[in-house]
Assembly symmetry: C3
Homo-oligomer: 506 residues x 3
Amino acid sequence: MSLRGKLPLLALLLALVFVLASVALGAAEWNDGSPEKRLRECQQRGDRHEQREEREDCQRRCLEDYRREKEERGGRAEEITPHHKGREEEEKEHKEQQQGKPYVFEDQHFTTKHRTEHGRVRVLQKFTERSEILRGIENYRVAILEADPQTFIVPNHRDAETIIFIANGRGSVSIMASHDKRESFNLRLGDVMRIPAGTTVYLINRSNNEKLVIVKLLQPVSTPGHFETFFGPGGEDPESYYKAFSTELLEAALNTRKDKIQKIFGQQRRGVIIKASEEQIRAMSQHKEGGVWPFGGESKGPVNLFSKRPEQANQYGQLYEVDPSECRELKELDLGVGFANITKGSMMGPFYNSRATKIAIVTNGQGYFEMACPHLSSSEFSGGKGSQHGGGGLPRHKGKTGPSYQKVRAQLKQGVVYVVPAGHPIITVASNDQNLEIVCFDINAKNNKKFFLAGKTNIMNQLEREAKELGFGVPAREVDEVFKSQNEDLFFKGPHQHHHESRADA
Amino acid sequence: MSLRGKLPLLALLLALVFVLASVALGAAEWNDGSPEKRLRECQQRGDRHEQREEREDCQRRCLEDYRREKEERGGRAEEITPHHKGREEEEKEHKEQQQGKPYVFEDQHFTTKHRTEHGRVRVLQKFTERSEILRGIENYRVAILEADPQTFIVPNHRDAETIIFIANGRGSVSIMASHDKRESFNLRLGDVMRIPAGTTVYLINRSNNEKLVIVKLLQPVSTPGHFETFFGPGGEDPESYYKAFSTELLEAALNTRKDKIQKIFGQQRRGVIIKASEEQIRAMSQHKEGGVWPFGGESKGPVNLFSKRPEQANQYGQLYEVDPSECRELKELDLGVGFANITKGSMMGPFYNSRATKIAIVTNGQGYFEMACPHLSSSEFSGGKGSQHGGGGLPRHKGKTGPSYQKVRAQLKQGVVYVVPAGHPIITVASNDQNLEIVCFDINAKNNKKFFLAGKTNIMNQLEREAKELGFGVPAREVDEVFKSQNEDLFFKGPHQHHHESRADA
Amino acid sequence: MSLRGKLPLLALLLALVFVLASVALGAAEWNDGSPEKRLRECQQRGDRHEQREEREDCQRRCLEDYRREKEERGGRAEEITPHHKGREEEEKEHKEQQQGKPYVFEDQHFTTKHRTEHGRVRVLQKFTERSEILRGIENYRVAILEADPQTFIVPNHRDAETIIFIANGRGSVSIMASHDKRESFNLRLGDVMRIPAGTTVYLINRSNNEKLVIVKLLQPVSTPGHFETFFGPGGEDPESYYKAFSTELLEAALNTRKDKIQKIFGQQRRGVIIKASEEQIRAMSQHKEGGVWPFGGESKGPVNLFSKRPEQANQYGQLYEVDPSECRELKELDLGVGFANITKGSMMGPFYNSRATKIAIVTNGQGYFEMACPHLSSSEFSGGKGSQHGGGGLPRHKGKTGPSYQKVRAQLKQGVVYVVPAGHPIITVASNDQNLEIVCFDINAKNNKKFFLAGKTNIMNQLEREAKELGFGVPAREVDEVFKSQNEDLFFKGPHQHHHESRADA
């Protein structure tokens, strides 16, 4: 959805805004130590002079500082778990979640697939187990890996395509690209990488103090919606798939004596995620870093989202995105990946995606979203017998000639997963105390466009004068007054900065 | 299925036929005022000298005159509704429809999605609600829009790809192609256009006396088989999706005061299809016309089916078609669009499509069709327990070694929708009192071929002599006598012109 | 999966092996008359000097001689039916088949769709009728045609794409490629050909002593998982689809008198597969042979698998494969076709496919396979309530942190069909008394890679030293001892040659 491509004018304006902003605020910002501010500062610098590398490193440093500070402030940047809740809070959350249904998934919707003392892999339930309305993304699964510092994830392959996003920490990945070729890459915050289906791969957390957090989107290739992990190296735990074969066959295939075979497949009992020694980590960390986005081309290994200029950026937030047209690996899967950083107290939207259905995972911060959904109000999914009417359905409100829209609203916090179907208008709001960071996987990303419903370039401003009058039933002037008062795009000052109260927790 | 491409010889012959025919009948025809004749005349003229524009306009004029005349004769060209029926007729129709099951859909299978005093939008039920046998087209929906003269359809977007065909009248469409770009086009009889999923669009009927009738094929992008319409401009009716958001969020996003927002979203109560003033219509009608088919390329806005030379044409009918290879927009959806005009008293077929499943909608006239279907006779769909045999199934008739074919037969009249699955031979017959006009959407159109089972180039004539003898169990000479007696292709003199009685209503 | 492309080094080594082998064994082999040996000899010759045609013919001759010999020895190369079984054997087989479930299909899972005294067509049940786990290949069907010498299969078309593989005998196919074009080709052992959906086609067995055996993979285009056969020529048996139309319509369309029509559609009563005369066969056999694989290009008619250098070949077996990148016709269907000839007493694998799910049909010989499957052990398909966890599922064994693998094991013999899902490691073993020949259709073949789990280039050898230690929990040296003792690739000396006893029937 390269807006740059489509909106050279907008790009120019944005650039201008950055320059002015940075000139105007420059000095002040250097004194302000908050990482959010610094991240924006990096942004602006990157746009002032084209030193991408510098901007990248700067951005990464900032985000990492930000995490560290938050931890010192008692934050939980490294751990994706709910904090302890009071009774009322739980009730409120339950209520919210009910409202969010069926688009919002929380801790209880995950299953722990692998767990050792050093980490865990959790898999989200199938979307269609939640609601038929999600059938369009039935064949996609979400998983989250968390591994302690200096750990090793045992080599394995999956019967699924996998896109990984590094949400925290520093890792390293090794891929058996073919019979006689291994490729290894270091991974860092913001890296996106495709692990082709069936490719044997292993990971390490090469940091000695940070947790490695990887968010995964999986697309099974064998049985729709279902995947499994196959461990070759292993023994008792993880069990090796070699052990499924008769010893006589392994002897013949490996041309080795039974006892030797039984020995190497008998030792491993430490599980899927195990501790590695300093030396082992060091030896497996000597790999090249991932590259920048290979425009239109092929990506070797990981590419870093922050190596691109953001699609949208202002003091209220930044959106980094990559779409299929930019990378063959994503094109083959018709997927896009995005990262939104909403400044604390600010909001993103309203907007909608024309084709893509978004699967969003909150990686940091808190807030909430509101989304308009006509399907839930329609007879077919509200359980009414009208379901026989398919996309049709009778006018729902007496005398109404069109659909009505249910408000889907839910609290957001680290680890919450939510789905934004194509065409559905949404607003996301960050809490007042920290930035809200969200990674998004876009299904059906090809030719997807983002349409803004507010802000300088909202589509209502494109209507003909007569269309405004006829559509709203008021003079065009009054319509313009409402839709031409906002000078920013996509990211705006949040409601809490209008009314002097916090609504994020209200 | 560009026959021209494959059959230069045939094309030449056809051209020749036209020249001779027109020379022979020329004078007489100019005296004959019937629009069907005139349409053919246009056809021939177009083929005599290559003045496409002229031919186009001529054809369109003819079809429109034809409609007008029919109305004067008490026809109902503008309205797609059943006429009042007598009791016996209803019984007969019921019987027919039963025979047509599950491939034929009539009024009762539509749901009115939007209705105001000035028009309505009706949506056909999901095909799979009718029968599992239609699962192959589960994700396609059909809708028909009818709007009175000088009306406005409120701006909206859908979570579905939409292909529209202008079946009657003169409209105008405006599309918010992107944030900062609106494209507007005038629409006329025969125009085909794709409305990309999620694109906000509004329509007007710019005629001051004709109804605008648009036939739509929709392909949902979010939830397979289900789509919804999203109205931005609006208020009470249609409800605006902006109203699903908390006022505080709209205030922040639009940077405007609550009262102003509430005002513009509070007025509209007139519904989805509303009357517009002369001036408003005039102001919104100043748009360019759609173009001709962009061979292999990209289409900007609508393209007119009649701008192409017909695939097949003779005095018994004409077939206009466009396939994915001719237009990127259709290629992306793997769809084809066709329009058949069967001269009154004539017939089309027998033929079958090799890959494409046709969804056909009768836009004018009356008649009936007969189709051969082995699936309905097979155990799996006839409800027999044999369903466990999948495509297999035991020989159905004692001693038979192959399938048997059920005759699917149904009456056709304006507004009837029917499905012709790939590979199924079909014959369509026009009544004696008016032309039968049918618009077709082809699913899986890529590489589809039409195979003729009668006529000059029918495939039986391609069999080797021995194959004819072995296949039919009679001397090849007798086979040739049957299959080489027809000199036309696809469109033939109908049965009623053989037997001097009308079977269309029998 | 062109290993050559990816592994030039390996290719060189293989070539070298052939040269040495052939030089070393040369003389001896010419004295050894066994067809298996001769097939390998052809192989080697082909690799010594680039005379492909010669190698091809040689290989085909060898395979055919082999069949003939086996028959003389009392083999049943021509007939794909189970031999008479004793009670214990049946019980054993039942047990095996239970183990093989749901991946193995035997005689009782086929339905006879057409049968005459001269041949039959059998269709395998829908895969999803067996298990939901096979939903990924729901829309593919398998059929096997067997026709006596000098027979004719009546012209027909199907609403399915069809890929045919000639498993035995000499045939000839005629295709009505378009209205005015018939293409005819002779078919021979190893030929692969696509019959496009909806194309009318007829076949003959042009041999006067061999049965024609054709293995088919079908992909329905109309109703997922279901297809039907449409017979035009015919009468009572097979019934002609022309007979579904009213006589008056046929009269009009064919412009012929009723009596003539009734005559040609009234004679045929001999069924779908009928005897033809010497003269008729001769007349229909004068066609060109199919070509070699058109690298990357378009294939006209059949192409012969043996015209390619094998992907892998040594004294223990040969693997011939063609993938979508080599042929437009296969690319459109995203299919690959392979043929494995495992030398008697030898084995193939362990290995797994990265993306492709294989549908394998045994065309000759006996043996068994073992496959590791984590899905069957997982709660979702083992019927446990855990099914709600989708791909997730709790650790199955107390304390285990990963999946466990069920051993799928089944006997193989002529006519057995089995499915090997993507990512699943498998070993296939040939019995001691004859070669095991298997034809494979690969679904989702694009970008598929074969990963070897034993042999010279197995992926375990690609792991970093530390990964071996951490993965297996033993010194890297011990891992290498096990994985570096085998010098062959893919095909190995079987277990029965290790232990001096036959396990194939144990």
